[in-house]
Symmetry: C2
Subunit: 204 residues, 2 copies
DNA sequence: TTGGTTTTCTGAACAGTGTTCATTATATTT
DNA sequence: AAATATAATGAACACTGTTCAGAAAACCAA
């Protein structure tokens, strides 16, 4: 024994190699260019080999999404550190919105693209988003406990805060704000202003 | 004379035929199944023929998007009729959110999918969304004028209202609310609740 | 070391996509 | 009827995800 364990380790390592190549490709070339064939070429294997380690592309994208969420979690833990829950909520929202603007391809995979969620038919819970969402819920829970915001239901508040943030980011990423004749910078400013205004609204 | 005009009419008619087939296909089979080849088969023409009337698929999807927006405009004009601006704003938001739930494929094309916005590189303004957005802006403008809401900037308010609505709809359509262990019905209820809570927040 | 077994890998194919272009068919004009 | 202009298409190109029979490599026992 030890040998079957090494086999297992090799399998995990290979999955890691595939996923890392996919992540890199995602960051450098975007979703469109991240094909099984391109990933295979990058790790110098045949495209068919990838299917020995991942059931399909969706499963691979699910792991890539996991990596992306680790980056968001890290950003939260770095930038949303205030002791004041309401101030922390502001930090969370701004971090979220800026993460979307600075990592459009990752944001796509995390919150917009269908593919990675297709594995959910077999899975019970979407664990990739668990930590990030938990971070938000904890903050809102603190706010409500100290009666700092006008929401009383944690879940409704979390849903709303997240939706406001996601709405702003995703409409921008998908160019729908072109319905207003504003230049790029004005839109970016308006998004941050909208976050600030929303925070003012919910403050008690 | 007469004959070149008829040619022109024929050209427009053909574009219409192609677009109608695409719309139908979109509603019946969804975005994924709406391929140039499938559309061509439906109208009994060769795939190459479509390219005599549409520069590329994006341009065709832009027209399909236009049709989708007419449906949304119609829904607004039917359901958001209250004389009270704040009540009308509620009707607008609920109509929007329900439109998304009931017409997921159309909503995708209108607000999520990249493709139809690619024509914007040549175009100056996104006229498809103009009327719907105008309807919202008018309502918010009325609200602000009568000091019924806590926003003072029309554009920021419109951006925020829209983003809240879109955030709720799109996160739901893309299954991201699976991060909370709620069943389908609870999520639907939570979305409408979030709209109501948001309206409460912005009311003066 | 040899031979047999198991695991790992790949080339080729399938069915699909958007798109282009030379060629054919159809109208229109002379 | 012949020449010209317009409209339509078949076939190809370069992609995509995915499958599978067969080749290569790794492992194990004699």
């Amino acid at each position: 024994m030890g040998i079957t364990e090494r086999k297992e380790r090799d399998k995990v390592e290979m999955r890691q190699r595939i996923m890392s190549a996919a992540v890199q490709m995602f960051l450098e070339e975007g979703y469109e260019k991240t094909s099984i064939r391109n990933i295979a070429e990058k790790i110098e294997y045949s495209p068919a080999t990838i299917y020995l380690y991942y059931k399909d592309k969706d499963e691979l994208l699910y792991d890539v999404q996991g990596q992306a969420f680790e980056k968001l979690d890290q950003a939260f833990r770095e930038k949303a550190t205030s002791k004041d829950p309401i101030k922390r909520l502001e930090q969370i929202m701004l971090t979220y919105v800026r993460f979307g603007k600075n990592n459009p391809e990752l944001y796509d995979l995390m919150f917009i693209i269908r593919a990675p969620m297709n594995v959910m038919k077999e899975k019970e819970l979407w664990d990739n988003g668990h930590d990030s969402f938990g971070f938000l819920v904890q903050c809102i829970s603190d706010c409500i406990e100290k009666k700092l915001i006008r929401y009383d239901d944690v879940m409704i508040a979390a849903l709303s805060v997240w939706s406001m943030g996601h709405g702003l980011v995703s409409l921008d990423l998908r160019c729908r704000f072109k319905v207003m004749d504003m230049d790029e910078d004005s839109i970016a400013a308006a998004i941050e202003k909208s976050v600030q205004e929303y925070l003012k609204l919910i403050k008690n």
